[in-house]
Amino acid sequence: MAELAFTLSAAPILGGVNQSIGENRIVERDDLALVSIATPIDGEASLTASLETGWGLALPDPTVSTPRGETRAVRTAPDQLLLIFQHGTPNADATVKSKLGGTGYTTDQTDAWVILEVSGPKTLDALERLCPLDVSHFPDGGAGRTVMEHMGAMVIRLGADRFLLLSASSSARSFLHAVETSYRYVTD
């Protein structure tokens, strides 16, 4: 048993940034957990069933995510998906694993990414300066992986002018700067 009366405190990657640029907002979503699920060879049927049972989610096709309430599944590779859900403690992996019952290989990705929710009337204009994907034609729930200002990123459309942007946590400050800059350049 640790002898110290010291407990570790979790800190949001960007300190929980929550800012406005004009009528637009950039908010760090540190309430969301990310767990990747890899499909075992020949295991898609079992995993599909587990997703349905555990979360009421369908296996997502490429370029779209399947939402159920605040939980969302995004296809990230031919045999891999990312589960996004509200979860505050560092045991997201165990939570998912228990529901899957061995039908998928899980890896906690919560800390590997920073998640920004961006919204507001200039959001599509800002993303034009940042995101090579055709996000203005994404349906709600549309998702894609891309590169923004040289940083690997994921983009998910939540609504007409509301998106989740994900990028590596180590370069989160640079990513935030890129997002802020894009908004500043298109906002009066």
Partner: protein, 967 residues
């Protein structure tokens, strides 16, 4: 000065007056003017000096093809040279100056060059400046350099901001003239997602310049209504001030949008945006460029293209001259005369080459005074409108190396059959040089492409217009003219230069271009190329299509380097990755070093320490004495899971991994396919189906990418899955004899004794009362050491917790330099040794290439040449004189051998001062090194002027038996 040449009409807003400065003189113009039209309105004819001969030059065209009227715009740091006055939109307070003269524009001292013209012909610089040899560096080169170029850069950082962006469309229409507008209307009405881009600030193209009707109204009105309709369509994006400058792969086009060039200030917003446009299809409706005719002294201010004269008269309400003469080889001459007459401008004569008339000479130093005809008649004129026919703007059709084809009936090149995939060409760009034809072609193309893309709404009617008379002849230059006749105005290339180039053996058009510099100026010869080709063809007795063209490459028009750079300037040149303990490190005196994208602490300075060595020596010594902590998050971490994960790793690593027990870590070596070592690291087995691999920081991405390739392409039958977790875990090395008691205070309910948690053990655990963690007993320093990882969100808290827990042991944080010192002391290979050229055998790790299994690279590592007994081996070195410092990069020589490559024995790869041993230590590759322990050899470094004796020793300078790390 008032606007003496302003006449009625035009698309300018006369209710507003704009003040601007030209060569420090205040002049005025109106919204809708370009700098060129405003200068002409104010009677300014002389606007610059030519490149080589410093001849007075005036405005020649009315568009982006302008070769003469290059000016410097703005002042101070924002000064921009070589800006075409014909494309600069006038704004209040605009400041412009002329360029390329010494002294004033009117009295340019360099104009003496014109007298030296016989010595400055094509390729003169290959023939002169030969002697005396000593003059080259001291006199000729400095003089040539100071004379070269046109404008001047400010030499200061560009204060403007530039940005990049990405756009998507079904159909990109390049050029918003009659064909482009008709196409956009058809495609937009059909429902296609259209981007319509035009470099002008006003869409309409030649419709704004000519006096023809479309749909029963003036062409300019029709264009304005079309733009209004297009703006109202949600599926159409109209982009003015946007030049599509290049066609790239996969339907991608580069476009430069000048966002704020027409404003006095950009107010913190990007001045220009470089767009990458992803299109399904593209329609090139870039129109055509008028070309000149070469005759004696055809470069005087006042000699202009006839189409430009019509533009200034019709669009800008400016008369370029009071007495205008017209030289033409086609119907445009009469059209020009009619337009000028309608505006009350006096016409001094129409000289039509089809009737055998032509011009042989002109007079007027700073402005045209008269023209002399081939029949000897002299006509006074202050403006000469020249039309040598039109060349379709085929440039973008050639960006994928397509070649245009010649059409004799219009005496011009038109797009060839080999267009960039997805591109169609319509209108004048396709060779339809009359209005009704170009409108019909644009409309039909827009409707057809939309239908092909599945947009079925009605495209509307074809705009109606009448085809104007069109007849042109191939008349390129006036042979009987004795005076110099310019072909390329911007680079001062004359007909004589082109002929001389041919005489001197430069027969290929590509050689002609480079020898004479024809078409190599900022205008890329838009008005000159065909003229040059025709003269070349004549000289060689070939036809123009036989002569061929040079290849067009992006950009179509000059693009500022700043626009290509976009945001990537200064500290935003690239992104940074920060370790989870970065903030804490900043607070504790860390000095950071860039390792790839990461910023890593290289040492932590304490008060009183004078230099980096003080800090590094202290950190290394204290770690070996008690305990030190280093953030090693940057090492690549890859989560490997699946039923076949062990089998997969067994094929990736050269050494065995199949039977690695759960709860154990193993050091692994990866080879490339060719058998060369490329990365090393440790892999821990957390469960039967779950491994965690670490890679070097530098190769984290490469290793992941290679493994993903192997997984997907070589062995897709294996059940194995990879995902990077590098950023997910904050990982710290805790090294030194007191690392165990320190960590024992930190981990929850885990016995860290050597028996319970021996060297190379690993486990998932919790720390500080419940935070999930992973603990590995591995050592890079050679000490008793661990690496402990917690989720990144706890990283900052963790370093603070570890330092607090280590206080009683006088724990130190250590940076990458102390890390390097300790690994060299221990003899561990790193990037300097894994340099992409060394084999496992070179590294002394030959035993790690298992002969009992196949793994990537193992077969080719068995090649004889890679297994020579006399090959290089990694060994250690120490200076014979212990006070001497070793240098990396020094080459080894036997004592007495000469210093040449034939006697080279190897080289020193890594050196460090060892605080533990009190002297410098090194690692290096030495021929038969492992057999030469104890030998004394030379370490010779001529670049550092060092030649010292060193002793060959074990690479394990400390603890060769590994007792500390196993203890």
């Amino acid at each position: 000065m008032t606007q003496v040449n302003r006449i009625e009409g035009g698309q300018i807003d006369r209710s507003n007056t704009l003040k601007f400065q030209w060569n420090e003189r205040w002049l005025s113009g109106h919204p809708g003017d370009t700098l060129a039209s405003a200068l002409l309105a104010n009677g300014v004819k002389l606007v610059g000096r030519s490149f080589k001969y410093h001849r007075p030059r005036g405005i020649f065209s009315a568009g982006s093809e302008e070769p003469n009227a290059l000016v410097q715009l703005r002042k101070g740091a924002a000064q921009e040279p070589n800006t075409r006055a014909t494309t600069v939109e006038l704004f209040d307070g605009l400041y412009a100056t002329s360029q390329n003269h010494r002294g004033s524009l009117e009295w340019d001292l360099m104009a003496a060059n014109d007298l030296l013209a016989p010595f400055l012909s094509a390729g003169f610089y290959y023939k002169t400046f030969m002697w005396p040899k000593a003059f080259w560096e001291k006199l000729y080169e400095p003089f040539i350099r100071s004379s070269a170029g046109l404008g001047r850069l400010s030499g200061r950082p560009d204060p403007d901001i530039y940005d990049h962006g990405y756009l998507h469309c079904d159909l990109l229409i390049i050029g918003a003239g009659p064909a482009g507008l008709a196409a956009a209307l058809a495609a937009g009405r059909a429902g296609a997602r259209v981007i319509l881009a035009d470099e002008d600030f006003c869409m309409g193209g030649r419709l704004n310049s000519e006096s023809y009707d479309v749909d029963g109204q003036s062409g300019a009105n029709w264009a304005a209504l079309a733009v209004t309709e297009l703006h109202a369509m949600e599926n159409v994006r109209c982009m003015t001030r946007t030049t599509v400058y290049g066609s790239y792969d996969h339907g991608i086009y580069g476009a430069l949008e000048r966002k704020a060039d027409h404003l006095a200030t950009s107010e913190g917003k990007p001045r220009q945006v470089l767009w990458r446009i992803y299109s399904q299809r593209a329609l090139l409706t870039a129109g055509a460029t008028e070309r000149s005719i070469a005759f004696g002294n055809n470069d005087r201010p006042g000699v202009m293209l006839a189409g430009a004269v019509r533009t200034f008269v019709n669009r800008f309400g400016v008369a370029p001259g009071r007495e205008v003469a017209i030289l033409t080889n086609n119907e445009d001459g009469l059209r020009t005369a009619a337009d000028l007459k309608a505006k009350g401008v006096q016409i001094r004569g129409v000289i039509d080459t089809r009737k055998g008339e032509t011009i042989v000479d002109t007079t007027g130093r700073k402005a045209l005074k008269s023209v002399t005809l081939n029949n000897g008649r002299k006509i006074s004129a202050d403006c000469l409108a020249v039309s040598g026919g039109w060349s379709p703007n085929v440039h973008l059709t050639c960006h994928h190396r397509g070649r245009p084809t010649w059409r004799e009936d219009i005496a011009a090149f038109v797009p060839g059959g080999d267009l960039p995939p997805g591109m169609t060409v319509a209108g004048a760009a396709a060779g339809h040089l009359t209005l009704a034809a170009t409108l019909a072609d644009g409309h039909e193309s827009g409707a057809r492409i939309s239908a092909e893309l599945g947009h079925a709404n009605a495209p509307g009617d074809t705009p109606s217009a009448e085809d104007e008379p069109f007849e042109t002849t191939a008349f390129w230059h006036v042979k009987e003219s004795k005076r110099r006749a310019w072909v390329d105005l911007q680079n001062d290339v004359t007909t004589k230069d082109v002929k001389q180039s041919h005489q001197e053996g430069f027969r290929s058009v590509e050689h002609l271009k480079r020898y004479t510099t024809l078409g190599m100026a900022t205008d890329q010869g838009k008005t000159a190329n065909i003229l040059g080709l025709s003269i070349m063809a004549e000289a060689s007795g070939k036809t123009i299509p036989e002569t061929g063209t040079t290849i067009f490459r992006p950009p179509y028009n000059p693009v500022a380097i700043g626009a290509f750079a976009g945001r990537a300037r200064g500290k935003d040149f690239r992104y940074f990755r920060l370790t989870p303990s970065h903030k804490w490190a900043e607070e504790n005196g860390a000095d950071f070093v860039e390792t790839g994208m990461w910023l890593r602490a290289q040492w932590f300075k304490k008060p009183g320490e004078k230099g980096w060595r003080d800090s590094v020596d202290r950190e290394a010594a204290q770690t070996r004495k008690s305990v030190g902590i280093c953030d090693v998050t940057t090492l690549g971490k890859i989560d490997i899971q699946g039923r076949d994960a062990a089998a997969f790793l067994n094929r990736i690593y050269s050494n065995p991994f199949l039977k690695l027990p759960v709860g154990k870590v193993r050091y692994g070596l990866m080879l490339r396919e060719d058998g060369i070592a490329y990365d090393d690291g440790t892999t821990a087995r957390l469960s039967e189906t779950h491994f965690v691999m670490t890679t070097t920081t530098a190769n984290a991405v490469t290793v992941f990418r290679n493994m993903e390739f192997v997984r997907q392409c070589l062995w897709p039958d294996l059940d194995v899955h990879l995902i990077s977790t590098t950023d997910g875990w904050a990982q710290f090395a805790v090294a030194g004899p007191n690392s165990r008691p320190l960590l024992q205070k930190v981990v929850d309910d885990l016995d860290l004794s050597n028996d319970a948690f021996p060297f190379m053990a690993c486990t998932e655990c919790t720390v500080f009362g419940g935070t999930p963690a992973r603990l590995f007993r591995i050592s890079f320093s050679g000490e008793l050491a661990y690496e402990i990882a917690v989720p990144t969100r706890f990283g900052d808290s963790m370093i603070r917790g570890l330092m607090a827990a280590g206080e009683e042991f006088e724990v130190v944080p250590y940076g990458t330099e102390a890390l390097g010192v300790m690994r060299i002391e221990k003899g561990h290979a790193a990037g300097n040794e894994l340099n992409g050229q060394t084999s496992a055998q070179n590294l002394g790790l030959g035993g790690m290439v298992s002969k009992k299994k196949d793994a990537i690279g193992s077969k080719l590592s068995e090649r004889d040449e890679m297994n020579r007994d006399d090959d290089l081996r990694l060994v250690g070195f120490r200076p014979k004189d212990r006070a001497a410092l070793l240098t990396a990069g020094a080459h080894f020589l036997r004592r007495g051998d000469p210093e040449d490559m034939a006697h080279d024995q190897g080289w020193m790869t890594s050196v460090a001062y060892s605080p533990e041993l009190g002297h410098s230590v090194g690692l290096g590759f030495l021929k038969r090194g492992s057999e030469r322990i104890g030998e004394t050899i030379r370490a010779y470094s001529p670049v550092r002027n060092q030649d010292i004796l060193v002793e060959v020793c074990s690479p394990h300078h400390i603890d060769p038996e590994g007792e500390r790390q196993r203890g």
